[in-house]
């Protein structure tokens, strides 16, 4: 699975995810990626692209949960994302997310996630493991 989230200097947000799914999956199996609110989600507060085990991410409604915690509880992107990832079954979930205020989170409860990010203030990261 691959994904990207972005926010511009005016606070416009977008998310995109694409995948081939699971190796040896049944014909017709749908994962989390195309399920809005699970593998991919964006609203006026944040944008999220998730990856991992689709069935777990759908059950956890990962994308929408992160946004809802920000929307209804006023959590920061980092607190919301950490809460959702920590509460997903271990080894099943990773996500990248940005917020309207330019926060970036790359959280995962697997052993690794191929990831990269950059911000206008010049900070950037490319990593696989913790």
């Amino acid at each position: 699975t691959v994904g990207c989230v972005a926010v511009d200097g005016n606070g416009n947000l977008a998310a995109a995810t694409s995948t081939g799914g699971l190796v040896n999956k049944m014909i017709g199996r749908i994962g989390d990626t195309p399920i809005v609110g699970a593998g991919t989600y964006a609203n006026y507060l944040c944008a999220i692209s998730a990856t991992g085990k689709g069935e777990a991410i759908i059950r956890a409604t990962v994308g929408r949960d992160v946004a809802a915690l920000m929307e209804y509880k006023g959590l920061s992107l980092k607190d919301a994302a950490d809460c959702v990832v920590e509460n997903s079954p271990k080894g099943t979930t990773g996500l990248v997310a940005v917020s309207v205020t330019g926060e970036v989170v790359m959280a995962f409860n697997t052993s690794g996630m191929f990831r990269a990010c950059a911000k206008e203030d010049g900070t950037s990261e490319i990593a696989i493991w913790d």
Partner: protein
């Protein structure tokens, strides 16, 4: 506030022993795609364009599980899926069950922009692709030798695998996943 971007190439049990010849091309693709996304944001392109552009690049890279390099179904075919969403309007588009569309993310965007729907799948999605004239290729374009091998491993282990999880082969003694190397199993 300022702009920001983040991208991923999949998560899972990625072994620390991933050999350089498998790790470096992936890191290089992440670096190249990050550069493309940053340049687009600096050029004031809308985030919807930016995320589509970056995901297209990642789809075209055979080292990641999307587009070329998609993992295989139990029938050794590809069924690709994608989704795109605009935060301000909550407009979104999704597709599933694609086997010939080179860039699934762009078809997802066309679903968002050219149809009253959100999600098209399988035959419907494929015929929409023809109608829209997006680039399509023979299914073999997406299949790599590595993924054929991974399917073989997964079948031997009688497992369905998530991204990068190592199959533990039934017939062999329990082998720590970190010893099997990269799997990009999806």
């Amino acid at each position: 506030m300022g702009w920001a971007i983040a991208l991923h190439g999949g998560a899972g049990d990625i072994p620390l022993s991933l050999p350089p010849e498998r790790r470096l091309p992936r890191e290089e693709t992440l670096r190249r795609c990050l550069r493309i996304g940053v340049a687009a944001l600096k050029a004031n392109r809308p985030p919807l364009d930016v995320v589509e552009l970056v995901v297209r690049e990642l789809e075209n890279c055979p080292h990641f599980n999307a587009g070329r390099g998609s993992v295989l179904t139990t029938n050794a075919t590809v069924e690709m899926e994608a989704c795109i969403m605009d935060g301000n309007t909550k407009r979104c588009g999704a597709v599933s069950g694609l086997s010939t569309v080179v860039n699934a993310i762009s078809l997802a965007r066309l679903v968002m922009e050219k149809t009253p729907h959100i999600y098209l799948a399988f035959d419907g999605a494929e015929s929409f692709a023809r109608e829209q004239g997006v680039e399509t290729r023979d299914a073999s374009h997406f299949i790599t030798p590595e993924n054929i091998e991974r399917l073989t491993q997964a079948k031997a282990a009688n497992k369905v695998q998530i991204d990068y999880t190592q199959p533990v082969l039934e017939k062999t003694p329990q082998v720590s996943s970190s010893n099997i190397g990269d799997s990009q199993i999806g």
